[in-house]
Symmetry: D2
Subunit: 161 residues, 4 copies
Amino acid sequence: MRIHIFVTGGTFDKEYDEIKGQLYFNETHLPEILNLGRCTVDIDLDTLMMLDSLNMSDADRSKIAAQCGACSSDKIIITHGTDTMVETASLLAGAGIPKTILLTGAMVPYKFGSSDGLFNMGCAMAFAQTLPHGVYITMNGKYFHWNKVKKNKQTGYFEEI
Amino acid sequence: MRIHIFVTGGTFDKEYDEIKGQLYFNETHLPEILNLGRCTVDIDLDTLMMLDSLNMSDADRSKIAAQCGACSSDKIIITHGTDTMVETASLLAGAGIPKTILLTGAMVPYKFGSSDGLFNMGCAMAFAQTLPHGVYITMNGKYFHWNKVKKNKQTGYFEEI
Amino acid sequence: MRIHIFVTGGTFDKEYDEIKGQLYFNETHLPEILNLGRCTVDIDLDTLMMLDSLNMSDADRSKIAAQCGACSSDKIIITHGTDTMVETASLLAGAGIPKTILLTGAMVPYKFGSSDGLFNMGCAMAFAQTLPHGVYITMNGKYFHWNKVKKNKQTGYFEEI
Amino acid sequence: MRIHIFVTGGTFDKEYDEIKGQLYFNETHLPEILNLGRCTVDIDLDTLMMLDSLNMSDADRSKIAAQCGACSSDKIIITHGTDTMVETASLLAGAGIPKTILLTGAMVPYKFGSSDGLFNMGCAMAFAQTLPHGVYITMNGKYFHWNKVKKNKQTGYFEEI
């Protein structure tokens, strides 16, 4: 049993640039996160892009779908910005990939010490091992089918629709 | 869908007593952990005891089993010290409770800033929602059937047997 | 012996708005910082403004100077954004206030878990008790006379000139 | 201007052994602390011992005094357990070393994420640069002459006597 993790960026991986006083992307923190979680699951990890999901294009989403289809594992976790996570989930569902695909992210950067990222990654790791094939979002301790979820932009919580 | 969390102590909830220079138990950090994870799952939370699991008696384990049987939810998470987690899982399995019961814990106290606790709680939250009835341990990103796992005392990792 | 702390904002007190994905000011973290440092020095604390120092006006600086002159203590710490800390120090020196005035700040927000803020506040607390009257900046473990320092914008370190 | 830091152990540098579930000493965290504080002061750093100060012997204290006398800098910081910090300060004062010597420590280990250590190190760094020759303890944002201080064992705060 192996899980393939594709990193696409999102708040999860944002850092603070102390010179410019801005948030930015450097390297992914996934290896550090898995290490902190003392995770012993066999993992393949690929960084596909490092994007704020508001800047993700159709070409980017197609690339994610192609990688999900091509990888050898049928259990996939995608780290993704929360703003357009539902759009990417929808495109992935349309691609009809016969695998269990979980999208997750964070509302607070992992490096800020008070992030939901570690909890969300735990949820994604577990759901990827147990849910049947399909495309899901996991946030806030729950999983949602790709076509039954929206992000509440006022509260930052994901809700069933 | 509700999940019942029973707190029994363990490294998870240990704190540092700055006057005595020792680790001790105060209140559980579960509410803080669920809040950090931005968890919106409906939760019932009960602290049954605050024990280092090396000090857990048969009477303590019987109390845990009775509470698991009596609560209204059929999805249960028990936070527990790692040293005797397998013994408690075994007793719970013997009790034949028709529910999904996950035991989890941490190798590093949640308050120490570098704990596996938040990740493990994410895993437990997800596995509790998706695994069939039975008694399981979740540590290191994996789940283990109660009778197919041991803690490797040299490495601190849980291993399938 | 009392020390008066005036809060003016700066990176020190910036937080992450998880809904908007931006840095912003809420309440000052100074009470939390002093508590973490287990500080028992008698402190008066006033928040004068909560500004990115790039947005600080002459009127703001005049207000700071007036408050420094008016307060009853002759030992003052001002938390301030680093970008224009030298300008404010210069204006304060021009005001000829017969007190020991230390300006300090942080390159990383206190809430991000990897901030220099706690160290800088320790330095400011100590220098305020020991330096003769004058206007100083303390950053990077050093103190600088107001007219002998610049911020190196490439490295983010303060340097003697 | 150089400051010589001598590490002797204490709560400051204690870590959590996740296998044994106990606190222990590994390497000092001083380089990490100075880096976090973005400290640019010229520092010489020597680890003399890694001891809980309750276990410090007269021979250990004599070694510290000898090193303080022998080093080339006249500004010295000693990190030390709080329980017998006053005893060591007294012995150092008796040695009549013509230097500014600051002893400091922490009530909570640096690695536990809620430590007073970074603040105390900031204070020590500043006091070492500004106080006249003598032996001092700095804790809780204050400095104390070696013979005018005691640790209140009930509260964990240092008090003037």
